[in-house]
Symmetry: C2
Amino acid sequence: MLRERVSDMRAHDLVAPFPTVTLDLPVEQAARLLADQDLPGLIVLDERGRPFSILPGTQVLRLAVPRYCQDDPALARVIDEAHADTFLRALGERTVRDSLPGRPRELPVTDPDATLLEVAALMARTHSPVVAVVDGGELLGAITLQALMDRLVGT
Amino acid sequence: MLRERVSDMRAHDLVAPFPTVTLDLPVEQAARLLADQDLPGLIVLDERGRPFSILPGTQVLRLAVPRYCQDDPALARVIDEAHADTFLRALGERTVRDSLPGRPRELPVTDPDATLLEVAALMARTHSPVVAVVDGGELLGAITLQALMDRLVGT
């Protein structure tokens, strides 16, 4: 019975390898990684290899949008078009560390024994399509929204 | 020159057909649509066929998580496992309308003439990997985070 099997499932059953980036990586490279691998987000590790932040894709994009455009639609509209596409280049050597917003209240990080319902609630609450699974400080991988949804609806 | 071509781009150049759901659709079917088609989110239309809400995938998931579990990780952990996987079924005929949170301050909706920088800023600000493109009240389609990122990094 699929239902039975799902009900026994824990995070460790759904976790899969997931690319990580470091705080010192240039934002441009982080954006390229996201695009090239069709990732729903990125896991940012600290110096000890632990999750420092989990960035949903929209917030990786945010790192690459000039600050003066982020909150002003009108400004983004009138920016000289010839310059609009150069914003990735304009980032230069700006790193993920330089661009990160303040740390959120709650990181989408859980442990291998979390129930699927717990992972679902965490994803919903943190608005993150990526949840990192950590065991005793060691990153095991991640559960994506897609993987979780597939399991929950039984596809 | 790729750069030149990107700089001339507007929302109408990137917009693509995107599935929509109505307010009367059962949440279970909305969740299945998201999973089956690997969508980053859903566009919810009102009775007149205009975007009523744009739900990122994490918030479609949220519709399907019992309210009593949404904000209490401890509760989601101790819920009887045999019941945890039945939550999609437990939704019964609950519709998208019944489950929607209050309308957000700003919907990720733009017009065909928006610059790519404008679309990027809108995605980042609304935390939505889907932006609906509307022309005179008519939904033309959507721009996904993936499509935008691919264009911006030139893959």
